[in-house]
Each structure stands twice: as structure tokens, then as C-alpha cells.
């Protein structure tokens, strides 16, 4: 039975492809590192990949990535989850409340549970009652924002370090410190050598006083990929997002899979709220998510509904998010980086014979290059705009290569197959 689903829903890659693919990924990673390093040396903006910048970027990435992973779970099962923002908001409250009373690990579970409650609400509305997914998500976000603001005032007002809109002084999850490696890499990174120091900075960022949550998030990326693409459960779940009628005829309980997917999705978004409260900042504050749930949704699309792609896209958001808070000169150097990357894409397109898009990439690339050459710094506000403009640009330039699950967002009723 499951082999039939395999052929209809998603053909597995031929066995030899995976080795070639990982080799290609390595090549891309090295190439990217070389480009970043060149830009750093040319512009002299060492801040663009200093250890501090990278750590800030990683920490800013995690909440967005968790939301994106949540989005993947839901949308792979065919449910659009705009409610990620609301589930994340619920997660921030759960994180603060449970951490305050029971410590950071119970807080982690609490945040996940609160997000999960949001997921259940969305699942009931969209799966059982067939409400439009966007409508349900919008309503959920309103409810969550109101509920958390209200609950914060009701429960945090009289606590130590609490107020009507905040709760600070919470214990945080432990940090990872690799004794010898971290320091050695840090010293090497400070030498600003071409490529070597850049690689060392990455190692140092991961091994020096880094929150354990970053590792947990990385593990969740791997887990999501493994469950969704390597298990029967995942295959069935994805079949509900590609062709629920076909899945139904093969005996898959589509409602149940959609429920499970949306609930897991909510829990992931809730964990994103936990990251925000305990790792990215020093406590809970009302309105903390600031649209990161939506950004996570964008990262998921931009990552082509895949965990690794979402990780890459989230890193871009996290990086620009961290960058704008650091220094303006480094943001200016980013213009050059963007221009170079656009030219690389242009060359790739030319090789594929896609002339129309190549011209588009080239034109936008020249625009960024001219901007870089003619200006000395980027206004602070513009730096804050980067992730959003980048998303629009990437979606505009690359959307033809993206493919969402075929039945994503479509209503499904049991017994209407055929």
C-alpha cells in the first residue's frame, strides 16, 4: 500500500543522487564562504562575520527557523498556517510562566504546550469545520495576541521581576562551552585571514558560550527532515498535502494526519516563542514576537517547503536582523555581498539558458553594486528593512523554482474522492 503512495505522491531520489547532492552542498558552502571572505577583505568590514555577529545571528535565526519548521509540518499536510504568529505569541507566555515556576526545561515543555493549544484551535477550525485557512489563522493571531497580553497582566503583575507587560530575571537554559577548541578558533578568527578566519569564526561562534538551544534547534531541523522524508508516517503525512483524495483511497486517515501535523506545527511555533523569551532576550515582554511568525512563514516558502532550505532562509533573516543592531559600516558591506551573489545567480541562469531571468538578476545586481559604490553608509532604518526587501526580491526572482504541496490550502472533505 505505501509503495503505491510513493509512486503517486513523491518519487524518492535515485540512491546514487544523495552522495552527489551532499558533495554539491559542500561545494556551495565553500563557495559561499569564499565570497563572504572576499567581500570582507575588500570592504574591510570585519564585523560582517565576526564571532559576535555570527552568534547574534544564530540566536536571531532560531525563533524564525522554529516557526518555519512549524510551517513545513502544517503545509506538508496541506494546511496553511498563518496562525504561526499567534502560536508563537502563546509560546512566549508559556515559556515565561513555566520557567518562572519550574525552571527552563519545564518552561520548554510549557512553551511547546501553549503553542500546541494554538495548533489545536487552528486544526479544529480548518480540518473539522473546513474554515478557510487564512481566515482561521488571522482570527487565531488576534485571539492569541489578546489572550497573552491579558494573561501577562493577570499572572505576571505580582511576581518578582514581573509587571503588567513583562517578566524578567528568568533562569535560562545552559550554555555550551567547548574548552580548548572554542578559544583556539576565536584567536584564529581574530587574525582576519582570508577564508581560514571566516571558517574559524563559525566554529568559535558554535563552541564559545553558545546556548544549548541552538543545538536543539539544529536537531529539530534534522528530525523534521528525517520524519517527513524518511518514515512511512512522514510519507503519509505528505501525501495528505499533495493529494488527500488519493491518500484517502489508500486507507490513510487524512483528518488524523492533518490534525497531528497542525498540532506539531503549533508546538514548534511555541518553541520559537521560548527561544525569544529565554535566549534572544532577557525576559518576556508583551508583543515580543514582532511578526516573526510571519517571517518564519516567508522563510518556509523561500526554503521551498523543505527543512534545510528553511534553515538557509531563516539564517538570512536572522543575520540581517542581528546585523542592523550592530554597525552601519558592516551593513554597507552587505550591499556588495548581495551584488556579488546576484551576479553568481546570473551566471548560473546563463548556463541554464534562462536568459530572461539572467538579465533580471544582472540588472538588480548592478543596482546594488552602484548603490555600494556611490554611498558610504546605509541609513539605519534601511538596514531594518533588509530582510523584508530581500524576501520580496528572492520571491520575485526565484519563485518559479519553488513548488508548494499540490493540495496546500485547499479544502478537503472526507468521502469526496473520485
Amino acid at each position: 500500500m505505501s509503495t503505491a503512495v510513493t509512486t503517486s505522491a513523491a518519487a524518492p531520489p535515485p540512491p546514487t543522487a544523495s552522495a552527489g547532492r551532499s558533495y554539491r552542498w559542500l561545494l556551495i558552502a565553500v563557495g559561499f564562504l569564499a565570497i563572504v571572505s572576499s567581500v570582507r577583505v575588500i570592504s574591510g568590514a570585519n564585523e560582517i562575520d565576526s564571532v559576535g555577529t555570527l552568534q547574534a545571528a544564530l540566536i536571531a535565526t532560531c525563533p524564525i527557523l522554529l516557526a518555519a519548521l512549524g510551517g513545513i509540518w502544517a503545509e506538508r499536510a496541506g494546511i496553511v498556517n498563518i496562525g504561526l504568529e499567534g502560536q508563537m505569541i502563546l509560546g512566549t507566555w508559556g515559556a515565561a510562566y513555566f520557567t518562572y515556576f519550574y525552571g527552563p526545561w519545564v518552561g520548554l515543555i510549557g512553551a511547546g504546550l501553549l503553542g500546541l493549544v494554538g495548533g489545536i484551535l487552528h486544526a479544529v477550525a480548518t480540518v473539522t469545520f473546513g474554515v478557510d485557512h487564512i481566515v482561521s489563522g488571522v482570527a487565531l493571531n488576534i485571539i492569541a495576541a489578546g489572550a497573552v497580553a491579558f494573561l501577562a497582566e493577570a499572572y505576571f503583575r505580582d511576581l518578582d521581576g514581573g509587571g503588567v507587560r513583562q517578566l524578567t530575571g528568568l533562569p535560562t537554559p545552559p550554555k555550551v562551552e567547548v574548552p580548548w577548541l572554542g578559544d583556539a578558533a576565536g584567536e584564529l578568527a581574530a587574525k582576519h585571514w582570508f577564508v581560514v578566519s571566516d571558517l574559524a569564526a563559525v566554529v568559535a561562534a558554535l563552541t564559545r558560550n553558545m546556548s544549548i538551544m541552538v543545538y536543539i534547534v539544529a536537531a529539530l531541523v534534522a528530525l523534521t527532515w528525517w520524519v517527513l522524508w524518511k518514515t512511512t508516517f512522514g510519507l503519509r503525512l505528505r501525501s495528505c498535502g499533495e493529494n488527500p483524495q488519493a491518500a484517502e483511497t489508500l486507507g490513510v486517515n487524512v483528518y488524523r494526519f492533518k490534525y497531528v501535523a497542525v498540532i506539531i506545527s503549533g508546538a514548534f511555533a511555541g518553541l520559537g516563542g521560548y527561544m525569544l523569551v529565554l535566549v534572544s532576550s532577557s525576559g518576556f515582554i508583551t508583543g515580543q514576537t514582532g511578526g516573526r511568525g510571519y517571517i518564519g512563514l516567508a522563510a518556509m516558502i523561500f526554503g521551498n517547503w523543505r527543512p534545510l532550505g528553511a534553515a538557509g532562509a531563516s539564517t538570512m533573516f536572522g543575520y540581517t536582523d542581528a546585523m542592523q543592531l550592530r554597525n552601519a559600516a558592516a551593513v554597507h558591506a552587505l550591499l556588495l555581498l548581495v551584488a556579488v551573489l546576484l551576479f553568481v545567480f546570473m551566471l548560473l541562469r546563463i548556463r541554464q539558458g534562462d536568459r530572461k531571468n539572467a538579465v533580471l538578476f544582472g540588472a538588480v545586481g548592478v543596482g546594488f553594486l552602484v548603490w555600494f559604490l556611490l554611498s558610504d553608509e546605509v541609513p539605519r532604518e534601511f538596514a531594518g528593512m533588509t530582510p523584508y526587501v530581500a524576501t520580496l526580491l528572492v520571491l520575485a526572482l526565484g519563485t518559479q523554482r519553488l513548488r508548494m504541496p499540490a493540495a496546500d490550502g485547499k479544502p478537503y472533505r472526507k468521502g469526496q474522492a473520485g
Binding site: I82, L121, A125, F129, G130, V131, D132, I134, V135, S136, V138, A139, L140, N141, I142, I143, A144, A145, G146, A147, A149, F150, L151, E153, A154, Y155, V164, G291, Y294, L297, A298, I301, P379, E381, F382, G384, M385, Y388, V389, T391, L392, L395, A396, L397, T399, Q400
Partner: protein
């Protein structure tokens, strides 16, 4: 008979949703140590004269935002970007009106046109991306909302006049301010005259959608894209036009406040109307008249909730729970009614074939 049933359903569903939402909110308040009785009492008390004026003004702005959302929704376009569109349009209108190029009311007209144009242009970015590159308007408008905040922040910071800690645009000259009207003998609060824009927009919305070829095409595209394409409608063109209209209406949202009370863009700018508008459009099923009632309801709830903190020690935000649950409950109610109807039709058809047979139980 069916007509009567339709009317009953159309009224019963929202009323039940409101009751259910108030119940949920009361339970949340009671559980977290507040007094649900106080909440209900305050919500249902008659507002003061000043609040009544306030409710009218807020309802007008929410109504415009909801109309903007409804234009898109009617053809399955999700313009989540009203928030950003009315922000850039509000800023543009304030700058144009503040520059006072034309005298008196001509200046007002120019500013209104500028607001429509800028709002439409901002929505147009999303429309063009959708039509030419296939980018989902949900994502692009969310991004454009964020960009609008930083862009207006940057412009205000760079070109605005410093006033204390914040910055603002040049105030509108007195000759171009649009005075309001106070229906009560006491108090100084006024109903903004530019609220008439909402009435005009509402009537135009109804006429265009229900009485023109364009409106028919738009609704047809929303209900069945394939059928619309088959009958010769260019969906790309419709998407573009609907999005521009939506953005244009969104551009009007803040104008009554700008000309009636605020007089400049700065700390006076009111955020959040766009998202409220989306919820209100959903509650009013994207129809011109029901949306008006929904806008009044939301404005009423908002105004009443402001008294919760002072009089009962309950957080203002609790009203968002009520509003969100109303929206969710009402769409669920409509969906259940729709399913019941489909089922009833099937049953009627079955009974017509086999007279005397007993019908099965209706699962909901």
C-alpha cells in the same frame, strides 16, 4: 420560505457568535481571577456622549479598512497589507496637505487623491509581483507592511519637524482642516466630516460589485476561476485591478482622523486599523451593509473595553479575545449552515425520489 430562513440564519449566526465569544471571554476572566460580571456589566452599559462620538469615528475608519479587505476577499485575494497601505497613504496625504500647494478645500481634494494613489501603488507592488512572478500576495503584503513601517519611519526621521522627542509632518493649514460636527450639546468631541468618505465608498462598493459587468467578473473570478476564464475574463487583469482598488480604499482609512483631528502625521497616527478591518470584513461576509454593522460592533467593543482597566481592573486587551472568537465562531457557524443546506438539498432530492421514506439523522 427559504428567503425567510436565509434572513434568520444571517442574523442568528453572528448573534450566536457574539454570545459565544462573550462567554469564552468571561470564562477566561473568571479563571484568571477577574470578575466576569463586571466585564459583562461594563460591556453592556450605555456609552457616554463622548464615547458615542468616538465609536462613530472609529467605526468609520474600521469600515473603510474592511471595505478594502472585502474587495480582495470577494475574488479570493488576501490583501493582508491594508495596514501598510493606509500607513504610507496617510503619510503621503499628510505631507501633501501640509505643503498646501492649493488653497482650502482643493488642497483637501488633492490630498485625498494622493492618498488613493499611494495606497493603490503600495498594493500595486504586491499585485504586480503576483501577476508577473506568481508571488503569493499574502506573503508579499506582509513584507510590505513591515517595509511601510520602516519607510515612513525613515522619511519622518529625515524630513519631519522635530517636536519634543518625536517628529511629525507639517501641520495642515487651518483653511484645509475639515471641521467635524457635534451632535450633543455638551462636550467638544466631534464626528469627523470626512467620515462621509466611508458612506461614499460603501455605496460605490455595493454598486460596482452588484450592478456592473466588472463587479460580476470580479465575483465570478472569486467563486470559480476556471469558469471565469472560460467566459473570457482575464484573471490577471482582474487581480491587478482588484488589488489596486483595495489599496486605493485602504488609502482613505486614516484621512477622516487626519483632517478632522490629528492635522499631522506623527504620534497621532493610529495603527492596527488594517488588521481590525480584515476581521470586520470576515464578520460582515464581505457585504457592504453587514460590514457596517460589524465595524460598529468592533468600534463599540474597543471603546467599552477602555473602561475595563479603570473600573474593573481588567486588561483592555481582553477584548481582542472576544473579537477574535467572534470572527472564528461566525465563519464556523456559516460553514455549518452551508453544510446543513447541502445536506438538506440532498435529503430533499432523495425524498422526492422515494416518497414516504424516513430521512437519516443530520450529522453536523
Amino acid at each position: 420560505m427559504t428567503r425567510l430562513r436565509n434572513i434568520v440564519v444571517a442574523i442568528a449566526a453572528p448573534v450566536l457568535a457574539i454570545v459565544f465569544a462573550l462567554l469564552v471571554t468571561s470564562i477566561v476572566i473568571q479563571i484568571s481571577g477577574g470578575s466576569a460580571m463586571d466585564f459583562i456589566e461594563i460591556i453592556f452599559s450605555w456609552p457616554s456622549d463622548r464615547l458615542l462620538v468616538n465609536i462613530t469615528n472609529q467605526a468609520v475608519m474600521i469600515y473603510l479598512a474592511a471595505l478594502a479587505a472585502a474587495v480582495g476577499f470577494r475574488m479570493n485575494l488576501f490583501n493582508i497589507g491594508i495596514e501598510g497601505q493606509y500607513r504610507v497613504a496617510g503619510y503621503a496625504a499628510a505631507v501633501v496637505a501640509g505643503a498646501a500647494i492649493l488653497p482650502g478645500f482643493l488642497n483637501v481634494a488633492l490630498a485625498i487623491l494622493a492618498a488613493i494613489a499611494v495606497g493603490a501603488a503600495w498594493a500595486g507592488i504586491a499585485a504586480v509581483l503576483r501577476v508577473t512572478r506568481g508571488v503569493s500576495e499574502v506573503i508579499s503584503t506582509i513584507m510590505l507592511n513591515a517595509i511601510a513601517v520602516t519607510l515612513t519611519g525613515y522619511l519622518l526621521h529625515t524630513y519631519g519637524i522635530r517636536k519634543g522627542d518625536s517628529r511629525q509632518t507639517t501641520a495642515i493649514p487651518e483653511s484645509s482642516q475639515v471641521p467635524g460636527w457635534n451632535p450633543f450639546s455638551e462636550g467638544s468631541s466631534e464626528i469627523w466630516s470626512l467620515g462621509l468618505l466611508a458612506v461614499i465608498a460603501g455605496v460605490a462598493f455595493w454598486l460596482v460589485l452588484n450592478k456592473t459587468r466588472f463587479g460580476f467578473d470580479l465575483r465570478a473570478t472569486g467563486q470559480s476561476e476556471t469558469a471565469a476564464v472560460a467566459s473570457g475574463v482575464s484573471t490577471k487583469k482582474m487581480t491587478l485591478i482588484a488589488m489596486l482598488i483595495s489599496g486605493g480604499i485602504a488609502g482613505l482609512v486614516w484621512l477622516p482622523s487626519l483632517f478632522g483631528g490629528a492635522h499631522y502625521y506623527g504620534s497621532t497616527f493610529q495603527t492596527g486599523l488594517g488588521f481590525t478591518g480584515i476581521a470586520v470584513a470576515l464578520l460582515g461576509r464581505n457585504r457592504a451593509l453587514p460590514i457596517a454593522f460589524a465595524a460598529l460592533l468592533f468600534a463599540f467593543l474597543n471603546a467599552q473595553s477602555n473602561r475595563l482597566t479603570i473600573e474593573a481592573g481588567i486588561s483592555v486587551e481582553v477584548i481582542q479575545i472576544t473579537q477574535g472568537v467572534i470572527v472564528l465562531a461566525v465563519v464556523i457557524a456559516y460553514e455549518l449552515v452551508r453544510r446543513y443546506r447541502v445536506h438538506a438539498e440532498e435529503r430533499d432530492a432523495a425524498e422526492a425520489q422515494r416518497p414516504g421514506s424516513t430521512s437519516e439523522e443530520v450529522p453536523v
